[in-house]
């Protein structure tokens, strides 16, 4: 990426990583690994020895660690897309709300209560400059 290129306007949205071309290129193999978990035999192989299974994919060390540590935001920062990481959550038998709570830094009951109360408010969440 050229240094003098201005950031796209969507980089101003807080707490959001738009899955653009840069992230897609960065995360291609990470997302391919996630995609492999669509098959039950692969899910079993992954569960049996995660590190060994990950060796099959051309991942950076940061990508590997983010998966092994289940650092859900870390995976996104390393180019994963949420629809792909959701397949790791399914492999772990975790509900989507469970990982949504982890990504937003609250407990699952807190997250569920926030959703029941109408969800996260847009007020204060539109742009990084607006967010204190």
């Amino acid at each position: 990426m050229a240094q003098d290129k201005p950031l796209p306007a969507y980089e101003d949205i807080p707490g959001t990583l738009v899955f653009d071309s840069n992230r897609s290129r960065q995360g291609f193999w990470l997302n391919q690994f996630c995609m492999s978990l669509m098959k039950d035999e692969n899910r079993q192989e992954f569960r049996a020895d995660e590190a060994k299974y990950l060796d099959k994919w051309d991942l950076t060390e940061a990508q590997r660690q983010s998966v092994l540590k289940r650092d859900w935001n870390g995976m996104l920062q390393n180019g994963a897309n949420i629809y792909f990481t959701a397949k790791i959550a399914a492999t772990d038998a975790l509900s989507f709300q469970h990982i949504a709570a982890l990504m937003s830094g609250v407990t699952q009951p807190e997250y569920a209560a926030m959703m029941l109360a109408g969800g996260r408010s847009i007020e204060g969440n539109r742009s990084k400059s607006e967010k204190k």
Partner: protein
């Protein structure tokens, strides 16, 4: 001549499918959602469409990052419910309408919409959840379905304006088909929701309701909403709403709103639903 008589918009939240499949529809949390679809189930059973064109998005199920078609039309004779990691949903196989699907593909391509033609595709919750919400839980779906998958996973998705104009091209195609068919079009996805990162759980009811108003009264204004506004205001996954504009573009300028429903939440998402009928139909 075939004609499009009505359009339906609905969210396609996967948890709704799970609630249906696990028999949780009577639980208060879910009953509130399913009650909003009682009207459409009765209405469509009376209207009996011959074919439904169902606009949806694949969620890294049939399409990985290996191949990312912007608009993909399903021309196969049938589409199997996909295994999304938990086994396929226990719903009927979706029967296609290859003749009309091919006709739409050809007509749209010659109209300068470069459609991808898909002869084999498993369909995920993006397609099967709307089917369940609108048709209930029959042993076989009551009519053939033409899946139209739109990329909204890899940025950038097609613009709202492009989607709206594709809707118009689909209408033109349907009206030039030589069989006498009653066609409906469903636009699915949305409404406001964000699944990723620290802003997960974002809901914007004001934006959603303005979008529903706009669908009825001034869809042309909605076609001007830039991607940035969808992502900022309706959440990174709220951009799925562009798919509703394909449905709207395929209808007359003047439509009658037969039903509208909005509730928060279903899992992480705002649920919106609208039934629009061509005034002239």
């Amino acid at each position: 001549m075939a004609r499009i008589i009505a359009g339906v918009g609905t969210s396609h939240v996967p948890a709704i499918g799970a609630a249906l499949d696990l028999g949780k529809t009577a639980e208060p949390y879910w009953k509130r959602v399913f009650d909003g679809y009682e009207f459409v189930k009765k209405w469509i059973a009376e209207e009996k469409p011959d074919v439904v064109i169902l606009v949806f998005n694949d969620h890294a199920t049939a399409f990985s990052l290996e191949l990312i078609p912007t608009f993909a039309i399903g021309t196969a004779a049938e589409f199997k419910p996909a295994d999304e990691g938990w086994g396929p949903r226990p719903v009927p196989v979706v029967k296609g309408h290859p003749e009309l699907a091919w006709h739409i593909a050809q007509s749209a391509i010659l109209d300068e919409f470069d459609m991808t033609i898909v002869n084999k595709m498993d369909v995920d919750h993006g397609l099967t959840v709307p089917m369940s919400l609108i048709f209930g839980q029959p042993d076989a779906w009551p009519c053939p379905v033409i899946p139209l998958a739109v990329n909204v996973v890899q940025y950038p998705p097609p613009t709202g304006n492009r989607c709206y104009n594709l809707g118009k091209a689909i209408r033109k195609a349907v009206e030039s088909f030589d069989q006498d068919l009653k066609v409906m079009i469903f636009g699915t996805g949305g409404m406001s929701h964000q699944l990723q990162g620290p802003r997960a759980g974002l809901i914007n009811s004001e934006f959603d309701n303005a979008f529903l108003d706009g669908l009825v009264q001034d869809p042309a204004a909605l076609t001007k909403i830039p991607h940035l506004d969808y992502m900022r205001e309706a959440g990174s996954e709220g951009i799925e709403l562009v798919m509703w504009l394909i449905m709207r573009g395929a209808l007359d300028d003047d439509v009658e709103q037969l039903h509208r429903f909005y509730t928060v939440p279903a899992s992480n998402t705002a649920v919106g639903h609208i039934v629009l009928k061509n005034v002239a139909a």
